[in-house]
Symmetry: C2
C-alpha cells in the first residue's frame, strides 16, 4: 500500500508583555492597573491573591483594591474578595495551596480570558502562577511583586513552580505573564534582610553581563545597604531589564543546557534546602556567587584583585558569605551540582566568569578545587 | 525622583516536530523510533507508559520494546520497565495517576532532556502528557497513539489535560510534543466501535475545511465501515494533516475566542459527561456534528439537501445519531453551551458551516431553534 509522508510541523508562538513601575498602584487615580484592560472589551474578571504579611503591613490594601475595582467597574469585575495566603517558601512545599487557588479560580468562573492578580513575594507568585498556568490550560496572570528579589528577578521571568518530592521547583511550567507591575511602596515595609537579600541577583547579572552595572552597585553599596530608595529603584530597574533582555534574546523556555542566570545557584538551591529554607533565596545566592567567583579565581579565570573586589562589594552591601564549617555539610552541598544538572537536564553546564561583566560556561567542576574555594573564602573573610 | 520607563518584552518561541507513519514500530529493523535520537549525543533516557489493553492485545509489545532499546543501547537508555496503566477517560478523573507517572519520572531521573513515550489512546496520552508537561517544567514527550481518534486528532495537537472539579480538561497545558508516531498495526486490534468512532473527527475537519476530503469520506463510507485499511490510512493521514495545518497557521495556543476544531464539540463534551463517559468522545462528536449541521440548516446557512447528504454519510459510516428522548436531558445538554464558553474563555463562539468545507462562527445560539434541531434530527432519522 501507499506510504504516507512524514508530516512536518513548525510554528512560532509570540509573547508580549510589559513591566510597569509605579507607586501606590491602587490609589484612586493611579491609571496603571486599569490601563491593562484598555484594549479589552467589557469588564474582565479578576481574582486577587495577596500575601498575608503584605496585607497586614499595608492594612488598607484590600479596601483600596475593592474601591479601585468598584470605581472602574466598567473594566474590572471583582467576583470574590481577595484571597489572603501566607507567603514564603513553605507555600510551595505541597499541592494543598495550589488546589486552594484552583478552587477559587473555578468558584469565580475565571476563564482563559480572565485574570489572576497576585501580590506578594517570589514564592507566592511561583505557586499562584503555577495554579493559573494549569487551570484551563492557562489563565492570564498579573504579577505584582512586593520584594526586591521578586521585583528584580523572579517575577519578571517566564517560570512558575512548586516543590515536589522534596525537590525545589520539581513541578512547574513556562508561562509568560500578562503583565508585571513593580510598586515601590511595597519595598518600604520589607524587613532589612529582605531588602538586602534581593540585591544578590543584581550582583549576579552584573557580574555575568554588565560591568557598568557592577560599577553602579560598587559605588552605591553603602546607599543600598542603608535603604536609599533611588539607588534601589535603579538597581531593580536595571536588573529586571537585564533579566528580560536575556530571556527574549536567547532561549526563553530553556530548551538548551546553558542557564547563565543561574550563576551561583547550584550551591544556593542546595543550601536553601539544607537549611529548610531558613536561608532566603537571595542570601543563598550571595554565598553561591562568592563561592563560584572564588572557584573562578582558583582555576585562573579571574585575578585575585577581581575576586577581592567582588567580595568587598558584597560584604559592603551586608551579605553574610559564610559557609557551613562541617565537612559533611560541604560534601552534601556538593551534591547540589548533580541535582542542578538533573533539574536543568542535559549536559552539566555551570556558569562562571572570565572577568567582571563576562560569563563563561564550564562542563565539569573539580570537587577538590571547589573545596579549596570554600577554604579560601573562609580565610579571606576572616582577614 | 526619576521615573523609570516601562520595559517591553517581546519574543517568539519556535516549535518543530514531526508526525511519522509506520507499521510495527518496535520490530527489530524499524528505524523510525531510534532515528528520533539521531541528532542527540549519547544515550537518551526514555520512560515508556503503555495502555494495559494495548499491552494485552499486543502481548509481545513490552518484550519487543525492551529488546529494541537494548539493540540500540548507544542511543536509548531504558531505566525502568514500561509502566502499564489503564486507559480510558476515567484515568483523567483524578490526580492519582498523574502522581504515579510523576513518581516514575522522578524515580527514573527523567530530566528536561529525557523522554516520556506514551503508547495508548487519547485519554492516556492526555494524562501522561500533562504529567510530562509539569515535571521539571516540561520533559520531552513522544506520543504513540493507538486509536483512530488519537492518531487523526488528539495526539497530533498541542494540548494535554486531566479532568478536575468534575469538569472535563479543567487542568492542562499547551505543550507541543517532541514527536508523534502513528503505527497502523495498533488499529487492527481495535473494537469495532473504536474503529468507527474516531472517523467523526475526520468528518468534522472535512466539513469545516475541505470539501474534497468530505467527498473522499462520502465515497469511502462503506469501506471505512468495513475496516478497509487503505481507506482508513488515508483518512487518518489527511485528517491529521488538516489538524496540524490549522494549529500552525492560526493561534496554536488558543489566545483568541475562535476554536473551529471544536465544531460539534459543545454538545459532545456535555453528552460525554452526562453519560459518565459511556459514550466515546468520537461517538459524541458525531452526534454533536449532526445536531450543529441541523441547526445550520434551520438558521438557513445550508440547504436541506446538504444536511441530508451529511446525515446519510454519517449513518453509512455507522454512527448512531440519536439524542436523549427526555426534555430535561436536552435542557441539561444545552447548559453545555455556557460551559463550553467558560472553558474556552472570552466571547461565546460556536462554529457552524455555510457549505460543505466552509466554516462560519456565530456568537449566540437560539435555544428554541436548537431544540427544534433535536426534533428535526429525530424525525429525519426515523424516516
Amino acid at each position: 500500500m501507499k506510504e504516507f509522508q512524514t508530516i512536518e510541523q513548525n510554528f512560532k508562538v509570540s509573547y508580549s508583555y510589559n513591566l510597569y513601575t509605579t507607586e501606590h498602584l491602587f490609589e484612586k487615580d493611579n491609571p496603571v492597573f486599569v490601563n491593562l484592560f484598555k484594549n479589552i472589551q467589557g469588564a474582565s474578571k479578576v481574582l486577587f491573591v495577596i500575601d498575608s504579611q503584605v496585607a497586614e503591613k499595608h492594612s488598607s490594601l484590600v479596601r483600596q483594591i475593592t474601591t479601585y475595582c468598584a470605581n472602574f467597574s466598567e473594566k474590572i469585575l471583582l467576583k470574590t474578595s481577595p484571597l489572603i495566603l501566607e507567603g514564603g517558601e513553605q507555600i510551595k512545599n505541597n499541592s494543598t495551596h495550589v488546589e486552594y487557588v484552583l478552587n477559587a479560580i473555578e468558584g469565580s468562573n475565571i476563564c482563559r480570558h480572565s485574570y489572576v492578580a497576585v501580590i506578594g513575594g517570589g514564592a507566592l507568585i511561583d505557586m499562584v502562577g503555577y495554579a493559573a498556568a494549569i487551570a484551563h490550560r492557562g489563565v492570564r496572570l498579573i504579577r505584582i511583586p512586593t520584594t526586591v528579589l521578586s521585583q528584580n528577578d523572579s517575577a519578571v521571568g517566564v517560570k512558575n513552580s512548586i516543590n515536589f518530592f522534596g525537590k525545589k521547583n520539581f513541578l512547574g511550567t513556562f508561562a509568560p505573564p500578562f503583565a508585571i507591575i513593580n510598586d515601590k511602596a511595597f519595598l518600604r515595609t520589607l524587613e532589612k534582610r529582605d531588602w538586602i537579600s534581593g540585591i544578590s541577583e543584581a550582583v549576579k547579572v552584573a557580574l555575568i553581563k554588565d560591568a557598568q552595572f557592577y560599577s553602579f552597585i560598587k559605588e552605591n553599596a553603602e546607599l543600598l545597604k542603608n535603604r536609599d530608595e533611588d539607588a534601589m529603584q535603579y538597581l531593580i530597574y536595571r536588573c529586571a531589564a537585564l533579566h528580560m533582555e536575556h530571556i527574549s534574546s536567547g532561549d526563553p523556555f530553556e530548551s538548551g543546557s546553558s542557564r547563565p542566570l543561574d550563576f551561583g545557584h547550584w550551591s544556593a538551591h542546595k543550601l536553601e534546602q539544607m537549611t529548610h529554607y531558613e536561608l532566603r533565596h537571595g542570601e543563598a545566592v550571595a554565598k553561591g556567587i562568592a563561592l563560584d567567583v572564588t572557584y573562578s579565581f582558583l582555576i585562573k579565570k579571574i585575578s585575585e584583585n577581581t575576586l577581592d573586589d567582588i567580595l568587598t562589594v558584597m560584604l559592603a552591601i551586608g551579605f553574610d558569605l559564610n559557609f557551613p564549617e562541617d565537612e559533611e555539610q560541604i560534601n552534601e552541598m556538593l551534591l547540589g551540582i548533580e541535582e542542578f544538572r538533573e533539574h536543568l537536564g542535559g549536559k552539566l553546564t555551570i556558569t562562571l566568569i572570565d572577568e567582571i561583566g563576562k560569563k563563561t560556561d564550564v562542563h565539569a567542576i573539580d570537587f577538590s578545587i571547589m573545596k579549596q574555594a570554600v577554604q579560601l573564602l573562609k580565610t579571606k573573610l576572616n582577614k
